[in-house]
Amino acid sequence: MPVLSDERQLIFYCAVPGSGWAKLSLLLGCCAKLNLNKSDRRPEWVEAGKRGDTKHIFHKGCFWDPKREYGAGFDDIGANYTKDEFIQECLRPFAEHDDKNYLIRSHFFAETKNLNWLVENFPKNKIIFVLREPGPCFEGWTTGMTFTKHYPNYKAWMKYTFIDDHPENFQRLWELINIHDAMIRNWILDRDCYIIQPNKAFLNKLGYIWDDEGVEEYQKMIHTHQFHKVDVPRYDAPFVFYNCSDFFEVSS
């Protein structure tokens, strides 16, 4: 059974579907200061979405959420797991366990009860969010993803699981995006959070490594995210950092 040498190795990551969070998490994977364990990456967990353009792969590694292989009980963490069970559920998909940090990505962390449970049980851990308006998120998700035909599945967002593109599934998706978006926004309102746009200079502050992988992930983010349908960057999907002060204690 894998163990954590320090509970703070778990970094919780949360946003609503279509926010571009998966792409942005790949940027975090290139930041030395986050020092992320990437042993959850497997060939079957790589996804280019509806467009199928392998240049724009944006899902890599594990995503935890209800009705998926991992995080089945994440709709109500406190009711479904003890703290130890939750830690094991977070660590299960990783092939290697070391002193690096684990980025645990779940849309359902957005539920207020889950965020409160996380802070209560892991008061020193970092939580990173991505904020984006529900309209562009819905458009982004429906342009690139399906409920069951691409990785990861979005069965927990479906009303009728027997038909993938049933109109009421999209209605349910829209409602959940709005609900979770509002929950995140209200939760961070009076908490100590930095809301920061992911530009190059800021990534450098996080120790971004400009090797082949770093350049590739950055280019993908620029082309498919910040410049989607526009000539100048939108800056419409900032990171929110909670409990991350140590990231910013650098003078340049």
Binding site: N186, L189, D192, Y194, N199, A201
Partner: protein
């Protein structure tokens, strides 16, 4: 004469909430802004059903009385004459304070390039907000030449019957066109130069040593009401739709 590093160029398009951000930054001790540009002639406010406006201090640029040639700074000024023109709005000029210089027309690409070339050691602060939200806010709550500051430089036609929320179509179209252009050019600048871009939350303001006195609370409360609070009954969640980009400000932020 003041040093270049005392100057903070402040950029934003109309309706972006830059005046409110200006008020917030003036409450930050680390910026140590000189406020001798504020007097009874440079304070103005309006509360519409939807928007609260509170303009304080100077606004430079054509139509404002100072900076009439700022549509093309390089063609109309030397570095010295430009600075002399800008500082006319301050009663007290010393070598200790920082001086915010605020003008929408700084957003023009040729002006930004001129500023960066001539004032490489100055600080730059840019306010970013979705251009459609900016258009709506400004067109619903301001007039071109009946309020403070004066926006006659955005007009292409006289409009004596103008009221806030009701403008002649030619002026409105020109406003939208200029706002789109300035937004594009401002974002290009931010992309090239910004060190960091963040939303002004309480925590970030604290990093800049925000003074939580009566004035500070007042400014932050109104900022929240105007730019964070959501009036949509369905969602009721803060929007965080305004970002501030900083260049050459690391000593203040980190």
């Amino acid at each position: 004469m003041i040093r270049d590093d005392q100057i903070v160029f402040f950029l934003g398009i109309p309706g972006s909430g830059w005046a409110k951000i200006d008020s917030l930054l003036r409450c930050c001790r680390k910026f140590k802004f000189n406020e001798s540009d504020i007097n009874e002639d440079t304070i103005w406010q309006r509360n519409t059903n939807r928007y609260y406006l509170n303009h304080k201090g100077h606004f430079l640029g054509p139509g404002s009385g100072v900076g009439e040639g700022f549509k093309d700074i390089g063609a109309n000024y030397t570095k010295e004459s430009f600075l002399e023109e800008c500082l006319k709005v301050y009663k007290d000029v010393n070598d200790k304070d920082n001086y915010m210089l605020k003008c929408h027309w700084f957003c023009e690409r040729h002006n930004i390039n001129w500023l960066i070339r001539n004032f490489p050691d100055s600080k730059y602060v840019a306010v970013l907000r979705d251009v459609e939200l900016c258009n709506h806010r400004w067109l619903e709550s301001m007039t071109f030449n009946k309020d403070y500051p004066n926006y006659s430089a955005w007009m292409v036609k006289e409009d004596p019957d103008e009221k806030f929320g009701s403008h002649c179509i030619e002026n409105e179209q020109n406003f939208r066109k200029l706002n789109r252009q300035h937004d594009t050019e401002l974002r290009s600048f931010v992309r090239r130069y910004a060190d960091i871009i963040f939303c002004p939350t309480k925590y970030i303001l604290d990093r800049m040593d925000f003074q939580w006195d009566e004035k500070g609370h007042h400014e932050f409360t109104w900022y929240k009401r105007c730019y964070i609070s959501d009036t949509n009954l369905y969602t009721r969640a803060p929007r965080y739709e305004t970002s501030i980009a900083f260049y050459n400000c690391n000593e203040i932020l980190f």
